[in-house]
Symmetry: C2
Subunit: 372 residues, 2 copies
């Protein structure tokens, strides 16, 4: 039911255009996946998510396990029906949220005991439980339960987390039995090249149609992340998508694709939108700023999204400054549309064998430091 075909590859960089067939539809890669943590891409309707160009969205196992509970979603007929999104959904395993959201956690080989970030109640997640929850949710792509070590972890800590991730992967693999759900194993290894290489080598036997790179974009400098991706690149199998978890800035997407990555997700575009920041080809702009008070042009020239076609910077600035929900919604639509458009532009460049040119031009115009 799952298949990945490379339609075109960039000779210089290894970047690819691919067609990822899933039971709920085809995903063209490279792809950015908006995040719907709580079974809702914040502020948007499923129709808007689709109209912005999204092909697949993420949802969070950890959050949905706590609220409303996976059993309720199962009774509702699964996550797709519950949230009225009928295209592919990828759910993470909950591992990363335990790492980033639970102050009290105790990790053993068996699993992870943690306190709910909502009410402090105690829960125990294991690889088997994570898969069981994801089976209740009925997502199309499910993630192996992993341990993500902190960006500044010692070699020994990083190795321990990697070993545990591998042993948990084996257990996930044993219970992830459904044909209509593809299990993506996750490569860990922190910022240590030899661990990354060992991790991917030992992970590959479990990768059927997709492999994920976890534990990056967790606080390390971008060049370090790129170095890790360069380290892993020779080891990727060509016949499956490679998913870089938690990365969503435009510059990182361009750099990631040029290092052979096919899939990305991140809360960044939706989160900064609600805070009044628009992503553009020139870098991020803070619509809240007074310079846009009487700017009646669109957020981004030549953008054909619903936001840019119908509303001005001045109007959106007004909405953001008066805490009107519609302001964050418009910028969310724009930011997601922007990333999807970027993916399409990159595909064009790969089709026409001009990706390196595209990259140069992109970085000439793009202000990474978010100054405008």
């Amino acid at each position: 039911m799952f298949k990945y075909e490379v339609l075109k590859e960039c000779k210089q960089t290894g970047a690819r255009i691919g067609r990822f067939t899933t039971p709920r539809g085809v995903i063209e890669t490279p792809v950015f996946m908006p995040v719907g943590t709580m079974a809702s891409v914040k502020a948007l309707s499923p129709e808007e998510v689709l109209m912005a160009g999204s092909q697949i969205i993420l949802a969070n196992t950890y959050h949905l396990y706590l609220r409303p509970g996976h059993k309720i979603i199962e009774k509702a007929g699964g996550l797709h029906k519950f949230m009225n999104w009928h295209r592919p959904i990828l759910t993470d395993s909950g591992g990363f949220q335990i790492f980033s959201l639970s102050s009290l956690r105790k990790i053993t080989d068996e699993g992870c005991r943690f306190n709910s970030f909502i009410d402090g109640s105690i829960h125990f997640l294991t690889p088997e439980k994570s898969i069981e929850i994801q089976q209740s949710l009925g997502s199309d792509i499910i993630m192996a339960f992993d341990e993500c070590s902190a960006a500044d972890a010692s070699y020994d800590k990083a190795k321990e987390a990697m070993e545990r991730t591998l042993s948990w992967l084996d257990r996930c693999h044993k219970v992830a039995s459904r044909d209509d759900q593809m299990l993506f194993p996750i490569v860990q290894g922190n910022m240590y090249k030899d661990l990354r290489i060992e991790s991917i080598k030992r992970t590959l036997p479990y990768a059927k149609c997709g492999i994920a790179i976890g534990g990056l974009s967790v606080g390390e400098p971008k060049p370090v992340m790129y170095e890790m991706l360069d380290t892993l690149k020779p080891y990727y199998p060509s016949n499956m998508p490679r998913y870089l978890m938690g990365v969503g800035s435009a510059d990182c997407l361009v750099e990631g694709i040029c290092r052979g990555i096919d899939m990305f997700d991140c809360v960044l575009p939706t989160r900064i939108a609600r805070n009044g920041t628009a992503m553009t080809a020139k870098g991020n702009i803070t619509i809240r700023n007074s310079q846009f008070k009487e700017d009646f042009g669109p957020v981004e020239e030549n953008c054909d999204c619903y936001c840019c076609k119908n509303y001005s910077r001045a109007y959106i600035r007004h909405l953001i400054n008066t805490d009107e929900i519609f302001g964050g919604r418009l910028l969310t639509i724009h930011n997601i549309s922007f990333l999807h458009r970027l993916m399409n532009d990159i595909k064009q460049a790969i089709w026409t064998d001009s990706l390196l040119d595209f990259r140069n031009k992109f970085f000439d115009g793009y202000n990474i430091k978010n100054k405008q």
Copy 2:
């Protein structure tokens, strides 16, 4: 450019079906007008407001004067263009907001000095200034600048406010010169029948195609409000719409229409929606409650709004309980749709000479105390 025709009248109650022609389109009455205080019906796009069945919306002069400033909206090409809503807009005069939002205010015959609720800065509104602002905004129906006395005001205070409102009306009338904007004068007089009668008699000469009833639903018991409406009813001219300001609960709409009212506005349906309350023919229900945890039915059976067609109570409860913006948005769509549907049902009853039957059946099924 403005015209009001009564298409059908209920003999027993005086309730009417009317066609209110304005430069930006025809409004069928009775009509409920959603409120877009800050140039946005909170959480909704203009398309959603329209799809829910809205024919005209409100915006607030006081709020838009303070932020972003009416001059900016004028430069943007007017409020319709600024907010992308191209049907009729009614703006209030700012009088009521000064009354309800500004802690420090000093009312003189000249006008009203008040402190901004945002930053405490001092402003001075006069009848002339209010009309000037509404002219900058370019709304289709503009309201006279009035003084609203508190529900428990003494007779003398109420009379003073009424006199001032009449003198301000005369000044508004002198400057409200645009053909494409209809000035609605506002009847005041608090809860004193003789003042109400005096107010409407002296107001009528200024009413060209619309008259508003202000100063009700400001804290008095509903029977008192109905009594005031009964008092005014014999004095309404038939050839213009009568607008009861600030009223939006289903029971008050039914009672108001049966007392000859044609137009209503209120923040209630949108405000309680964001708080997790759904309006239904059985009364309001608190979707947040645990009884809806596994309720996979729609918010209201037989409702054909976007919310009810696509989402369950369980899903919306989950969204509301996790502070997901989309939850309030869905309930906002439902609540507005519900009121528009109620207006249509009432029109049907008037067409078929069965309004009193309709009213009886409505109150048989409707729990005013909001218990479910």
